[in-house]
Amino acid sequence: MSKPKVAFYWCASCGGCEEAVVDLAEEILQVVEAVEIAFWPVALDFKREDVERLADGELVATFINGAIRTSEQAEMAHLLRAKSQILIAFGSCSHTGGVPGLANLYDREEILRYVYEEAPSVINPQRVRPEERIEVDEGMLTLPSFWGAVQTLDQTVEVDYYLPGCPPPVGLIRSALQALLSGNLPPKGSVLAPDVALCAECPRKPTKPERLALKELKRPHQVLIDPETCLLAQGLLCLGPATRSGCGAACITGNMPCTGCLGPTSRVLDGGAKALSAVASILDATGEAEIERILEGIPDPVGLFYRYSLPASLLYRRVGNGERAREGRSS
Amino acid sequence: MSYLYFPGCSLKGTGRAYEESLLAVFRALGIPLAELADWNCCGATAYMSIDERQAFALAARNLALAEAQGASDNGAIQLIAPCSACYLVLLKAQRHLMTDTAFRQEMSGVLPGNMGDPGQIRIRHPLDVLVHDVGLQEIARHVRQPLRGLKVASYYGCQIVRPFALFDRPHDPSTMDDLVRTLGAEPVDWPLKTHCCGGSLTGTMPEVGLRLNYLLLREAQRRGADLIITVCPLCQFNLEAYQDFIRRRYPDLAPMPVLFFTQLIGMAMGLPPRELGLQRLLIPVEGRMAALSKEGAHARA
């Protein structure tokens, strides 16, 4: 009997998720033992045709990391979806949009203009921009089209499971693989991480006071962070209370506040809004002026509360001028 | 702070003494007054009752001029209107401009200036300016000849505290009483401060008008007032000019000087009588003052 076939693919991502797979270290050998890798362009030489040749559903599982920004990424997502029994959104970008999702604060034209004209490292006096199609002597050259906004994987194709994190913690990957190989899977649509917030496993939990009342909000570069005490108690906006556990409080162990990469629990519709509500609730002020003064400590609410989840949020993207709104998702 | 000054017709005519004393007092206090250039009829009284729109238009033109001429000044434009009728009609027109956008648009087409924000003009009565902007302390500092022993009945008439009570109470105004005390004189408790002077009835229905005047004068006399001060050229004229006629019908009335309040201030500040237009009074006040100072000297002796 042949080994079950699996695939790995990346879309709009940094490559960190691929590294996370390698982080399984020698365990990866067991995985390779158990499965046949049918497609993993980052690691091995595969072509799109290799996937196209597969029968529908021939892949037992496919792991896609990265958000969806281009027509090519969408095409690949659709193709892999068709060929896979189980599609897993791997990492924050495919799960909730990730850091690339913050691009939804800008519209397509702003991004292209900056990248090809305004960025300090660019010399482009003719203001040349990549064209989707260009006729050259040898024939027609094409590029994938660049969409107006970033999408999550499940906004593009149906997703069966989510492995959250930026990148997903090794422990969660391991558990997911075990579940997959043993066939002991939770209901479809589940996020393969504990559904309790990070405080549950935070080593600093015992130092958290019962009544938090913040008079001032601080950012990590502004203070010497005490390595023992609850970060919120130090006035640092740690998103641990609003974020799934499963990472072993990795950032906090590194003396940095949680930034929310594992996303909200299943009971929350919009993680950013919920975190915002919690933060606002524990401010120690009742007068409008005093509240505003404290809130000056949050210069970029979207960056704080939606660092990994803007495309998955209710608002999805910034409301701009008419052009932006009309454009929506141009492909 | 500087002020624009809207004289209106009375202060150039029957109320010339009002203008003279007003300008003299402001000059002495060192407060510049700039007469509104090219002003026109304020639109008051008769005009208002015949054609309100045109009356408002006349007032609006004055406000437009004020906006244009006062524009260089920082802060709100302060427009002083000493005549009660002018003061009231300007206030009314301003509110009309602020609430009736159609009228405002119509006016902005034909008037000078852009009528950007008619609400930015502050229409002020000189009594308000003197008591609240300049302040009683500052006035007291300029008093050279305190009017000791002088009993003064303050008369406001009907228009400057009603319907807009912008600087004093509508039923028992007291700004002038405070001012009188500052000048060293003694205010008379006189309940007729805002009762009717007869207005134009003295001309049209003299029976009624003269009786109203008589009641005011007699009560001031009975309460021991040496003179009456007022803020309105029409009130001053009514109260002063008809005393002979009134006396024919009501012989118990003694002559009672009726001064503009600015004249009284000027007297206390020791300004020359001519600068205050005192010579224009039909019932002279100098005799009374002389008697007072003699009494005073007597008392001091």
């Binding site: 604060l105 906004a149 999408q151 999550t152 499940d154 906004q155 593009t156 422990g171 969660l172 558990s175 997911a176 579940a179 939770p186 209901p187 589940s190 996020v191 393969l192 991480a193 504990p194 559904d195 309790v196 499963g246 629990t265 299943s266 009971r267 929350v268 519709l269 919009d270 950013g272 809004a273 919920k274 915002l276 509500s277 933060v279 606002a280 609730s281 401010l283 002020a285 009742t286 409008e288 509240i291 505003e292 809130l295 949050i298 970029d300 609410p301 979207v302 509360f305 949020s313 209710l314 608002l315 999805y316 993207r317 910034r318 409301v319 008419g322 932006r324 709104a325 929506g328 998702r329 | -």
Partner: protein
């Protein structure tokens, strides 16, 4: 989300969701009714026990589902039936406004008002003013969001939330 109706002779009609606290604002709205104080029909009132129950998610959900404006009503400062729920609402509101600003949504589309139980006339005034404000701003042109909006798991009647997820680790 339903399609925006074709503009009739009246043009754009704002859709407004109002979250009113049970004790002051909702009661004031009842009073406005008893006193027959007509106001813009655009305002749709949802009752919460306290403005402190107002989860910012509700506001964003309202915008996502087509609201052009969201009104939050609570008791006057110091008058909260639950002592200080309205202060919590105020803090969330002020932070939420900052978020909306960054997301390109006009701040005026979200308004917090204090209305006591006896201020029926204020409900009328605020409803009319707010409707006019939103009418002036025009429709909220939120970009359509691909994908389905799931209800939060915990509140679904079945399957029960605890059993549904969290199999790992």
């Amino acid at each position: 989300m339903s399609e925006r109706p074709v503009a009739g002779d009246k043009g754009f009609e704002p859709r407004i969701v109002a979250f009113f606290c049970n004790w002051c604002t909702y009661t004031a709205a009842d009073l406005a009714g008893t006193a027959r104080m007509a106001y813009a029909p655009n305002v749709r009132i949802i009752r919460l026990m306290c403005s402190g129950r107002l989860d910012p998610q509700f506001v964003l959900a309202a915008f996502r589902h087509g609201a052009d404006g969201v009104l939050i009503g609570g008791c006057h400062p110091g008058d909260c039936h639950y002592q200080e729920g309205n202060y919590k609402a105020l803090r969330r509101y002020l932070l939420l406004k900052r978020l909306l600003r960054e997301m390109g949504i006009e701040e005026e589309r979200l308004r917090l008002v204090w209305i006591s139980a006896s201020e029926g006339d204020r409900v009328q005034k605020v409803a009319n003013e707010f409707t006019e404000t939103i009418r002036r701003l025009g429709p909220l042109r939120l970009a359509p969001r691909p994908g389905m909006i799931r209800l939060p798991a915990a509140a679904q009647p079945e399957p029960q939330p605890a059993a549904r997820e969290g199999v790992l680790p």
